[in-house]
Symmetry: C2
Subunit: 170 residues, 2 copies
């Protein structure tokens, strides 16, 4: 059971790593340009603070995840890793939500604010951003499942272990 | 020590409740209108999906937090509450990040995308949104500290309890 759990955790980490690396690469390589009334209109990820934040977080979590995968899974560091995993999930969710909010305006616009959609003009850029966001959402989901699994095992909320065996109290 | 910890946790929950309730009320009551070229330009929170998502999450977490505060702190439900608290922190961080990303465009605009800032026209609306976002950021911070504190106590990452006293393994 413990061995299966460890394999499942490693698979989740590998999937999350693939997702964050893809999200970083696809977002960084997103650029397009178009001509509107003789003016060249360029689109690049670093024109938006939310997309820049997204790239920074995805890159940091890729590095963190790689380090954790390379560390021995039998070390006593693993209790700290559970807390760091929660922080990683918060960062991934935050950056993905901010990027998604901006991408939604880019695709749909906002008539009330007078913000026009830009995807018609720079569709190549929009496709890249969509791809990066799908990878970012998957990464956040993998980390969410990883956290739920680890916390469930640690906290034993459905009393598989008797309550008095737990070394902490509230 | 345990009593102090419980008092600190309750204070954090009360602060988070005050922050989420304030964020909900201040965001929902935010509206303003202005005339540009004989056209009335109205601003309201539900004109943006990110702000609507923010209000829904802040309201849900207010309700959740109130229920947890009213429950007895000695019940055995508290292990599940730790997991639910992590989910609450993820939701708060996600909605706050999305709303912040849109508010940044509202305040600064985005010259690359041709999105003009709107805060000059609807400053009353912008002030309300800023207030709601400050409350939302505080709520996410209180929940972050609450999670760190609880997980630290449960996981004991710096070995105050001997490792072999812990009922779980990796």
């Amino acid at each position: 059971m413990t061995k299966n759990r460890r394999i499942f955790t490693t698979v989740l980490r590998l999937l999350a790593l693939a997702a964050t690396v893809s999200a970083t690469i696809v977002m960084v390589t997103s650029h397009d340009s178009t001509n509107v009334l003789n003016l060249t209109f360029k689109a690049k990820y670093n024109h938006s603070p939310a997309f820049t934040y997204f790239v920074i977080v995805e890159a940091i979590i890729s590095g963190y995840n790689l380090i954790i995968l390379l560390l021995s899974s039998k070390g006593s560091l693993w209790r700290m890793v559970i807390i760091l995993d929660v922080v990683a999930a918060l960062l991934l969710t935050s950056s993905m939500s901010a990027a998604l909010a901006i991408a939604q305006v880019g695709k749909e616009g906002n008539t009330h604010a007078g913000w026009l959609p830009i995807c018609g003009q720079v569709s190549k850029f929009c496709n890249h951003v969509t791809g990066a966001l799908v990878a970012g959402i998957l990464a956040a989901m993998f980390y969410f499942v990883l956290n739920l699994l680890t916390l469930y095992n640690v906290l034993n909320p459905l009393f598989v272990v008797k309550p008095n065996q737990l070394p902490w109290e509230f």
